[in-house]
């Protein structure tokens, strides 16, 4: 490193804007997680449905999303909506893109969770006279959630990391706040280091916390 003088002070002077960005990243990710879980549950029920066309539709949704990049999906939604003159705020376009993307991954996770519930549980519930919605809500989902929880946590970390892509469609998340800070201070090395470290701290803390919560919640009696 010949003669480079580090100036982290300039970055920390404006640390508040980075925190703002981090806050946006976090609540965008959380909202994405919750909405994708809804999409994923519906998707999983479709994939396990008795109706052939519903099953095929859900399968194609999953395959298409999993085999194309998130960035292209974001562009498709963001610029595509513009093309047909639907004016949505960037934040909403980003959210739609992220939910569309993660909904497919969660479909597979939820499906695996539901399939992990033994057949005997269905038979027992049916013999007690539970209807399909009751059976799902009272018997299957609570047991499936135990299986779903660990991959769900991993997916959440993935959402936080990949949400950095929304900076490309001008949503002011942590990544974009970092770039904006650089255009003011020109300290790109320091800023990128700090921003990257912030992502690492966020994901490491959150995944440790989620692991702890999981251990508490699913302790076997």
């Amino acid at each position: 490193m010949p003669g480079y003088v580090f100036q982290f002070r300039l970055v920390f002077q404006d640390f508040a804007t980075l925190l703002e960005g981090a806050a946006l990243t976090l609540h965008l990710s959380l909202l994405t997680l919750v909405l994708s879980l809804v999409v994923g549950t519906i998707g999983a029920l479709c994939r396990l449905s008795r109706l052939g066309w519903l099953r095929r539709l859900a399968t194609w949704y999953v395959e298409v999303v999993r085999n194309t990049p998130l960035l292209v999906q974001l562009f498709f939604i963001y610029f595509g909506l513009g093309q047909v003159n639907i004016d949505v705020p960037n934040y909403l376009a980003a959210l739609i893109g992220l939910v569309f993307n993660n909904g497919a991954y969660l479909t597979e996770i939820v499906r695996a969770g539901i399939e992990a519930v033994p057949r005997a549980q269905y038979d027992a519930a049916l013999s007690l006279g539970l209807s399909y919605p009751q059976l799902m809500r009272r018997v299957v989902f609570p047991q499936a959630f135990r299986v779903i929880y660990p991959p769900l946590c991993n997916q959440f970390i993935g959402i936080i990391l990949f949400s950095s892509l929304v900076s490309v469609i001008a949503v002011e998340d942590l990544a974009l706040k970092g770039k904006m800070l650089i255009s003011r201070t020109f300290r790109s090395f320091e800023t990128y280091m700090v921003v990257t470290a912030m992502y690492v701290v966020m994901t490491v803390t959150i995944s440790a916390a989620l692991k702890l919560v999981g251990r508490r919640a699913f302790r076997r009696a």
């Binding site: 490193m1 010949p2 480079y4 395959e63 298409v64 999993r66 085999n67 194309t68 990049p69 998130l70 960035l71 292209v72 999906q73 562009f75 498709f76 610029f79 595509g80 513009g82 093309q83 047909v84 970390i157 990391l161 990949f162 950095s164 892509l165 900076s167 490309v168 990544a175 770039k179 650089i182 790109s188 090395f189 990128y192 280091m193 921003v195 990257t196 992502y199 690492v200 994901t203 490491v204 995944s207």
Partner: protein
């Protein structure tokens, strides 16, 4: 009268640009995957080793890379490192480097899992035959571990192809950037990104099927001892 530079449809030159983008995407991924595998093997072996000075740095590398966004890694390599080292990195190689670094961290975990899936008794048996560490790895452990490693590695390569789209933010003309250029020229976003998505799908879907197939055909049958 303002001349209208906006094209209202895609022509054959545009198809050529998309093809060029597709080729560049494949080049990025192929290089990133090849170098990434080599680094992953080294890091994975270090991670699986019992010596603290070996596994600790390897674990730190894996954790930091897996817990930070690829976009940031790309920015650090392309914008930040050149300032620090006073060198110039061409866009293509910055892209390859980012994909390599990112892919190798995930791959290293796959390597470790593969190595750890080989039972202790295999080590004991090899050692009792007088083999040293390199020999055991080369002739006993890795050949068995590779069966376990292949399906997730194929899965990872799908992720690599998709992640390579992120290199477009550095204006390197791979498939996504080619799509963006056409979009800016024609404003036909649905059509352009639809085509781009189909091209990515054509790259990734065969890999998905391959991953599934390897998973089924390489399933390790545990011999009863």
């Amino acid at each position: 009268m303002v001349p209208n530079f906006v094209q209202d449809q895609l022509n054959r030159w545009d198809a050529l640009l998309l093809f060029q983008g597709l080729v560049n995407t494949v080049r990025l991924c192929a290089l990133g995957l090849a170098v990434g595998l080599l680094i992953a093997l080294v890091v994975g072996l270090a991670r699986a080793s019992g010596r603290v000075w070996l596994w600790l740095p390897a674990a730190a590398y894996i954790e930091v890379i897996r817990d930070s966004p690829l976009l940031m890694q790309l920015y650090v390599i392309f914008f930040a490192l050149p300032i620090l080292l006073k060198i110039e990195i061409p866009v293509f190689w910055a892209g390859v480097a980012a994909l390599t670094v990112n892919g190798s961290a995930f791959m290293a975990e796959i390597v470790r899992a593969g190595i750890e899936s080989v039972g202790r008794d295999q080590w004991d048996a090899a050692r009792s035959l007088g083999m040293g560490y390199p020999q055991i790895m080369r002739w006993v452990v890795l050949p068995q571990a590779i069966r376990v490693m292949i399906p997730p590695a194929v899965g990872l390569s799908i992720g690599l192809v998709k992640d390579s789209s992120i290199v477009s933010v550095l204006s390197y003309v791979e498939l996504t950037r080619a799509g963006q250029i056409l979009m800016e020229k024609t404003f036909l976003s649905f059509q352009v990104f639809g085509i781009v998505a189909v091209l990515y799908f054509l790259l990734c879907y065969p890999l998905s099927r391959l991953a599934l197939w390897t998973e089924r055909s390489l399933q390790v049958v545990k011999a009863d001892g």
